[in-house]
């Protein structure tokens, strides 16, 4: 069957009544390059098929017909198939394609793809992967479309295609100077065959007009600042109802009975719907509970307040954070599973002139995306349509089909803007909730709204961990022994019977791939049972691992009486490729081929040198101030941070300045790299100084921004300076969305130590330094 791309509903990020953007373009009289959905080629190399983009479900698609259309007036519409949550992907992905297409960026529009990975390639917008995995296919799409336009012009003029050249939105005949605009050529270009991947002429990067150049505003800036931008929470369909849900407050809890008689008396409440609890582990399924459906959100919230529910809290009803921490500490002091061992640790420790040990604790964290989760679903004639803010539209699509018992081709998931994601919206539980409630209302459109309390109480939390480190220094202060035992419940516990150990993608986040040059080392992982849903939180296990490892490096430097910078450069050792493939068990390398993305200590050293130089390392500081340094590789990107901390007489901590250096390989939109680093600094400081999710009786103790605190502007760094390590195309792009977070907390704590002599090993800082 053939299908016209112009009939694809775009996300609804446009005004809902104008969802059919591409149709609108076509109706204006132009035709479209996107003609048929045939011959999708994939970019996987067979021998490396398990790595990188090829290792992701549905890989990549490099067919321009899935991504580009051109209207008669020359307007180029580029489909963005990844979810926008503030990282700038709706600007960056289309920008890559536009550059190769030789399009004029001011004449480009962006349409959002619905969840359809067969058509667009993998859409899981997480793992800091969009640019890393789709730079090449987007370039290929742009180049193919450009060559089709050139072929159409050559045919029209009856000249050899070698005589024509696409430049800045038109095709020029080089000898005669004749030119045709892209709009004039759209129909004929659409009829040209799509060039095979090996026939594509990609631009010489020296010819890039946009990629890596800067000065590109985000595509949604105007809509956002004028209130037009539409998020999942903003969806409004004719006749729509609003629902909020009372969910079991404890993992695995169940409704025993409920009484909705008072709820039904609340003005505006229409119906109460019970949602079945899933079997645990429940992956991305909703937790169950009782939904209150009403004419507006407020009535639904009021109606929920009037519900009387008797809960069975189930097997996790005793989860309590203080005693759990004690259990983690006990485990961390015993031997754990050995994940990596080099030299002879015991001999190294025994022979050390100085021995240091430390335990670090970081609590659960909630993503607290500014937009609480929300989804709207309508079921008509057996067809399910959802509008929601998800990082994983295909997962939402599949789960809706499965839970509602409809064929996958009868489900459409329209992707709205995400008011923050940070990993929370990789889990489409809320979309399924909306589907179930709509089904109970005979398919009527219903929006499920999560309140902030729902978000804080029913999240997929960042893991809690105790990280125990032991180190030995020789008489010259050189590290000769390093033991790390990491103990944290695993994300896998939401998918399968709790394995109680970090799995390779968690241990591979800064623990086993620790790059330091220490002769005797052992890296272990002790068992920890999960008692709540654990989920990905921006940079995931890197948060805990980097916090501990980089703090401990600071502690060793102090014990050795050395400057942090010199000490850490020694610890990293000479520029080299770390042989992680052979020394570490299940070296994950973020799913990449370790031969393509090796651990390169030269790049680690370079970001340390760059950030310390720019931050004025060693500069004279006022009393009570200190500089702290940390460096960490994550998502195949290298980031170092210098934080200046200021501690006053009362023990209040402020941050006058943060410097961050990032080496993510070549950049697409450097301003968004900068903004991601600025934001990562704030998020890193939030978790270092303020945020904590803790449990009692199996329930989360915090509820909203009054007790789950995040940084506000008065606590933000006085100055933030981002330094991007310049790169050509000698290396491939790395991640950007997440790698800024991990070094921030340890850099702050190292700075506080310099300022005060006090070592903070428990996050968040809270009032630990406050004097009575």
């Amino acid at each position: 069957m053939t299908k016209h791309l112009r009939d694809v509903p775009t996300s609804g990020i446009e005004n809902l009544s104008r969802r059919y953007v591409l149709k609108g373009v076509a109706a204006a009289g132009g035709l479209v390059l996107a003609v048929r959905l045939l011959g999708i080629s994939r970019t996987s190399a067979d021998d490396a098929s398990k790595f990188g983009a090829a290792g992701m479900p549905h890989g990549t698609v490099n067919d321009p017909r899935a991504f580009v259309s051109i209207a008669a007036d020359g307007t180029v519409t580029i489909v963005c198939h990844r979810s926008e949550m503030g990282q700038g992907v709706r600007t960056g992905m289309p920008l890559i394609l536009a550059d190769e297409l030789e399009a004029d960026w001011s004449r480009v529009k962006v349409a959002q793809a619905p969840g359809d990975e067969v058509r667009f390639g993998n859409q899981d917008t997480d793992g800091s992967r969009s640019t890393r995995h789709f730079m090449k296919p987007m370039r290929q799409c742009g180049a193919a479309a450009r060559m089709m336009l050139e072929a159409a012009a050559a045919k029209r003029w009856g000249v050899d295609v070698a005589e024509v050249e696409a430049k800045n939105h038109q095709v020029v005949h080089k000898t005669s100077g004749r030119a045709l605009g892209y709009g004039d050529l759209a129909v004929e270009a659409g009829a040209m065959p799509v060039p095979a991947s090996d026939k594509l002429r990609l631009k010489d990067p020296a010819q890039f007009r946009y990629i890596g150049k800067g000065g590109i505003d985000i595509i949604d800036g105007f809509d956002i600042t004028t209130g037009r931008a539409k998020y999942g929470q903003d969806v409004r369909l004719p006749g729509q109802k609003y629902a909020v849900i009372a969910r079991p407050p404890v993992l695995g809890g169940k409704v025993v009975s409920f009484d909705a008689s008072q709820t039904m008396k609340v003005a505006g409440v229409a119906k109460v719907v019970q949602i079945a609890e899933p079997k645990i582990p429940s992956a991305f399924l909703p937790s169950g509970g009782v939904a209150v459906v009403a004419d507006n959100t407020w009535a639904a919230i009021e109606g929920r307040k009037a519900l009387k529910i008797e809960w069975d809290h189930g097997p996790h009803g005793a989860y309590e954070s203080k005693s759990y921490r004690g259990a983690l500490e006990t485990t961390a002091r015993q031997p754990g599973n050995v994940l990596r061992s080099e030299g002879d640790l015991d001999a190294g420790l025994a022979g050390a002139a100085k021995k240091i040990e430390a335990e670090y604790y970081i609590p659960h964290l909630a993503h607290a995306t500014m937009e609480p989760p929300s989804a709207t679903v309508r079921i008509r004639d057996g067809k399910v349509e959802a509008w929601t803010s998800v990082q994983s539209p295909q997962a939402a699509h599949d789960l809706l089909a499965k839970t509602l018992g409809v064929a996958p081709e009868n489900v459409t998931v329209n992707v709205m803007l995400l008011g923050g994601g940070f990993g929370r919206k990789s889990k489409p539980d809320f979309a399924v909730e909306a589907g179930l409630v709509s089904k109970a209302l005979d398919g009527a459109p219903v929006k499920v709204v999560w309140t902030r309390e729902d978000d804080i109480h029913n999240g997929f939390y960042h893991t809690v961990s105790v990280e125990r480190l032991e180190g030995g220094l020789d008489k010259d202060g050189k590290p000769v022994a390093w033991r790390h035992n990491s103990v944290a419940p695993t994300i896998m516990s939401i998918f399968a019977p709790d394995p109680k150990h970090e799995v390779p993608f968690e241990a591979g986040m800064g623990l086993v791939d620790m790059p330091f040059d220490v002769k005797n080392l052992r890296i272990e992982n002790g068992a920890a049972e999960a008692h709540t849903k654990i989920g990905w939180f921006r940079s995931v296990s890197n948060v805990s691992h980097a916090f501990a490892i980089q703090s401990f490096a600071g502690e060793l430097a102090a014990a050795a009486g050395q400057d942090q910078k010199e000490f850490i450069l020694d610890l990293i050792g000479p520029a080299r490729i770390v042989d992680a493939k052979n020394t570490t068990k299940d070296f994950w390398d973020y799913g990449e081929n370790p031969d393509v993305y090796p651990i390169d200590t030269g790049r680690l050293r370079k970001v340390v040198e760059l950030v310390t130089e720019k931050a004025g390392w060693g500069r004279k500081l006022p009393p009570g101030h200190g500089l702290g340094l940390a460096v960490h590789r994550s998502f195949v990107t290298y980031v170092a941070a210098v934080v200046e901390a200021a501690v006053d007489d009362k023990g209040n901590v402020t941050v006058p300045r943060v410097d961050i250096a990032i080496d993510c390989g070549p950049t697409v939109n450097p301003d968004r790299v900068r903004s991601q680093m600025e934001g990562a600094a704030i998020m890193g400081l939030s978790l270092a100084m303020k945020s904590e999710i803790s449990f009692k009786d199996g329930k989360v103790l915090q509820s909203n921004f009054d007790d789950y605190e995040v940084l506000r502007i008065n606590e933000a760094p006085g100055e933030t300076h981002v330094h991007i390590a310049p790169h050509g195309y000698d290396v491939l792009p790395g991640g950007v969305g997440e790698p800024g977070v991990p070094p921030i907390a340890p850099a702050l704590l190292n700075a506080i130590f310099v300022a005060t002599g006090k070592r903070i090993r428990t996050l968040p800082l809270g009032d630990q330094l406050l004097k009575a």
């Binding site: 800036g221 209130g227 037009r228 409004r236 609003y242 959100t297 500014m370 704030i682 009054d706 995040v710």
Partner: protein, 151 residues
């Protein structure tokens, strides 16, 4: 029936009088530029101007808003964008953008009261949360808007 004046337009709503203005705007009138972030006056995502004063609409019963002049993000611009909106675009402030309606409304009210705010004034007056961490650019954009307005 309850009458509201929003962005110089009159709306008649059949709504419970204690409903917060936020939900009247979003669910009944359909002005979704005003965002829901916390519902307890903590985050500022729901900031609108009520008789020119920055107000967290999640805490204002719609009955109390009746008869007052309400301006939302959709009504902030006149013939041209408000200086704050222009500055926001020039500094490329937003990341996810969800908090930004509230930030812009709070900044516009701050500048109306204090045309040349210092960083300390901004820190004291802008208490809206941005989970994406756009604070450095919010400061820069407020200074830029102040400079534009004084030209």
């Amino acid at each position: 029936m309850l009458a509201l004046m929003v962005n110089n337009r009159r709306y008649e709503l059949d709504i419970e009088p204690e409903t917060p203005l936020l939900w009247a705007l979003r669910d009944e009138i359909g002005l979704t530029g005003t965002k829901f972030g916390c519902g307890i006056a903590q985050c500022g995502a729901c900031t609108v101007h009520v008789d020119g004063v920055a107000t967290r609409s999640c805490q204002l019963p719609v009955a109390e808003a009746a008869g007052k002049k309400i301006t939302t993000i959709e009504g902030l611009a006149g013939d041209t964008l408000h200086a704050v909106q222009q500055a926001w675009i020039a500094e490329d402030v937003p990341q996810c953008g969800y908090c930004q309606s509230g930030q812009v409304m709070a900044a516009a009210a701050l500048l109306a009261a204090n045309p040349k705010p210092t960083d300390a004034d901004i820190d004291a007056e802008i208490t809206n949360i941005c989970r994406c961490g756009t604070y450095p650019r919010i400061r820069a954009a407020i200074h830029r808007a102040a400079a534009m307005a004084s030209r």
